[in-house]
Symmetry: C2
Subunit: 120 residues, 2 copies
């Protein structure tokens, strides 16, 4: 990740699960969407991504299937119901955690009802 490693730890799985909750994706696609979707903040490396995908598959959070595209095989990952539940749990943990950091650090924010981005 291009953000200082120290802050990046631990949230890898929530990012992967979130992206897969909207659409089935293959590994390389995940790295691209993660980069674009975060505004070039996240740059997940293969050495991080593939082991994580395999671990999530072992846990039963995702399932994989091969599909052909452009004359080449791609390994797609699909979120399972169990993975969807895991995502919800991790989202709640992220809310609790980031709010607690904000309380200590003093960067206050207010949660919105919807899910619109807070860019401009």
């Amino acid at each position: 990740m291009s953000v200082d490693r120290e802050l990046m730890k631990g949230s890898t799985s929530i990012l992967i699960l979130s992206l897969l909750s909207r659409e089935d994706m293959y590994g390389y696609m995940l790295t691209q969407r993660l980069r674009q979707g975060s505004g070039d903040v996240f740059e997940m490396k293969e050495g991080t991504l593939y082991p994580m995908l395999h671990a999530l598959e072992n846990e039963g959070a995702v399932e994989s299937y091969w599909a052909e595209a452009a004359g080449r095989g791609r390994k797609y990952y699909r979120l399972t119901p169990s993975g969807r539940a895991l995502l919800e749990k991790k989202k709640e943990e992220w809310r609790v955690y980031s709010r607690a950091v904000d309380k200590i650090v003093g960067t206050a924010r207010r949660r919105l009802a919807g899910g619109e981005p807070c860019e401009g």
Copy 2:
């Protein structure tokens, strides 16, 4: 920390620096304030705290001095100007990072001008 370890990684130093930016504190006091200030979310262990304080001192981010209280010595830590600059840097990193996670995960928020907490 009582929050799932996976989410806790990396933000230890910003929490310590933030607390010290408001008041000189000794180790044990830091663990208590961190717990109270986060609403029982963070429980920093001595095995995490003391090595981190020593590392921050080696970097020149904090300075320590002994003081007597209740007939016993306490080792206080004080933020140096360099530590204050480090804190500002880490705060900015936290803003970038947490905003990027929110973009991906879809838990949108809006930053406030002031520093008021967003509890109820």
